[in-house]
Structures are given as C-alpha cells and as structure tokens.
Symmetry: C2
C-alpha cells in the first residue's frame, strides 16, 4: 500500500535526492562523492544503495525531478502573460531570481552534460531531451501567436533565434557572474520579435 506520508520529506529517498540536488548543482557531479551525499543526508550507505543502484542512477533521478519542477515553473511563468512580448520576458525571470544568490551556477542540465563526455550516456540523452522540451515550449507556448502568421520556415527561424539567445545568455551570465547578458538577450529577442511582426504572410 502506498502511504501518502505527509512527512515524505524525511524519508531517506527524498533526503538523498534533496542533498544530491544541492551538492551536484553546487559542486558538480565529479567533485561530489557518494560519501558526502550519504553523510549530509543522514542516511546509511546501505540505504543509499537500496534506493539507487549507483551514483549515476541518483544523478539521473535528480535530473528527472529537476526537469519536472523546472518545466512546470517555466510554463507557469509564461502562461501568466498573454502578449508574446511579455511571455518572452517571462522566460528570463527564471534566472533573475537565482543570479544574485551566493554561488550561482547557471543551468544544472548543461553543467551536468558537460561532465559526461560520452554523448550516448543516459545523462547526456536526458539533457538533450530536456533542451528539446524547452525548445518545444518556446514554439508552442511562447511564440504560438506567430505560428499561423508566418511561413513555416520563418517560424522555425524565429524559434531558433529566441532559443539561441536564451541559452547564450545563461552561459554568459554564469561565466561573467553578471546579469547584463540576460538584459541584452531579452532586448534583442524583443527586437527580433518586432521584426517578424511586420512579416505576416
């Protein structure tokens, strides 16, 4: 029987993922040992390995959880606005909150993928899928107003443009630890958008 335990936060599996979330994100995958995860989540090693067959499996579980939260939050922020301009601006609010926190680390998915050189690893595959979903949301939820008004090719171009600016801004913000790349990318996105506005078929 599946108990809907309200104190699920204290269950070992959740504690492990919660700790891993913090450590993998802040320190990176390679620089975080299972021993640290175990001790900081107050769990026995045996318990750890009954819940997760390996460190990599935990990483994947973490990414899955993070993806769920991230996508949900992303969509929520977008759907709060009606105009395309405001929706584009809403995309970037995801980052504004994080940037000024101590030890900003950019996109957890990209950082994770960077530590796995084998492009066929499940981690890499998952991050690819995640980024694909983000692109889909940009096409279907952010820019949907433009789809019927543009030629199919033009619409794809627009999506790719907005998307490239978005990822570029994230990377540069992480690199410089300043928020001007986000402002710049947003400004440029709106400019591109307006240039497509007059381009209706």
């Amino acid at each position: 029987m599946m108990t809907l335990d309200p104190s699920s936060v204290s269950r070992p599996r959740e504690r492990i993922i919660e700790t891993a979330s913090r450590l993998f994100f802040r320190q990176g995958y390679c620089s975080t040992g299972v021993n640290q995860i175990i001790s900081e989540s107050g769990v026995a090693k045996a318990s750890f390995y009954t819940h997760f067959p390996s460190k990599e499996a935990l990483a994947l579980a973490w990414l899955r959880q993070r993806e769920e939260n991230w996508i949900q939050q992303f969509k929520e922020r977008i759907e709060q606005h009606q105009s395309t301009d405001k929706r584009v601006a809403a995309m970037y609010t995801m980052w504004y909150d994080q940037i000024h926190e101590e030890g900003y680390r950019g996109c957890g998915f990209i950082n994770m993928a960077g530590e796995f050189s084998n492009e066929k690893s499940p981690i890499r595959a998952f991050v690819r899928e995640h980024k694909d979903r983000v692109r889909q949301i940009i096409a279907n939820d952010v820019l949907n107003e433009y789809r019927p008004r543009l030629k199919s090719n033009d619409f794809d171009e627009l999506v790719n443009a907005i998307y490239s600016l978005f990822d570029g801004a994230i990377i540069q913000t992480q690199n410089f630890m300043q928020d001007w790349p986000i402002d710049a990318a947003l400004k440029t996105s709106l400019k591109i958008l307006s240039s497509y506005r007059d381009k209706a078929i």
Copy 2:
C-alpha cells in the same frame, strides 16, 4: 639559454601539454588523472612535477596555450574578409571544422569553467578573460564598421546580440551534436545586422 629546438614537440613539457590538451578537452578535467597524462605522454612523474607544480597549473598552462592559438585563428579567419556580413560568417567557421569530428566537445573554455565551481579560481578567472577578449574582437574587428555609424548604446547592444547568439550556438551544437544551431545563429546574426544597417545616425 633558450634553444629554439625544432624538435620541441618531443620535449617533455611540450609532450605533457599536448597530451593534456587532448585528454582535458576530450574527457574533461576531473575525469583525467595525472597518471594518464604521464603515461600517455611518455614522461616520468618526477619530470611532470618539475615542469608543473600541480594538475591545476597544467590546466592553466594548457588554457593559456589554447587561448593563444584560438584567438589567433579567430582573428585570421575574420581578417580574411572585408564586409561585416562575411566577417560574422567567418566567426562560425571556427566550429564547422570541429563539429563533424568524432567526439566533438564544444568550447574547451566553457567546459573547463563548468568543472570549477569556485568562481574565484584562476581557471574561472582565465575563462572569463578569454570570453571578454572574444567579445572585444567582435566589437573591434568584426563589427568595427558599425561603431561610427551607431549610437554608443546601440553599438553595445549589437555586439551583445551577436555575442549571445554565438555562445548559444556553441552550447546547443554541443548538446544536440548537430549543426543547425550554428546555421540558425548565423542567419539570425545577419538579420540583426541588416536591421542595424538602416539605423545609422
């Protein structure tokens, strides 16, 4: 006395850096041990540590060398063309060559920075400086035609736009292991450029 040895490639220090270059780039920093570097470069451990005080120092030396080559190549490709459009296109030729090589790994600087969570580490500082230099080159060598024709703010915006698209394309190309992000970013860059062309003061 500094011998200008033509067989400098066989000198231990060069062999070490060459091997490190391959391994750090392909496997990442954390996943590459000094033992592997030592054995693959055919060098004694003691020799390694007489040339480099630590693994991190080697990484820094590698980045320095890579930066020199990269910037030089970047500038050369750009200066081969006169028109701004062609110069922007030339920026992207840096990647076209690498993409289809087995085990493409994107930008070595970004990947390296991703493995150092301490933003004050020398590695992170160096990558920041590198990316700043790239931005300077975009401003001074690629888009220089536009500087006198635009208001200062507009010019900065233009530089940031081209630059964000550039970094975004690199990341996405690495992620998807396909080259459409580069095509898309280039196309968008040219479009932005043309929108600024009519905007002369």
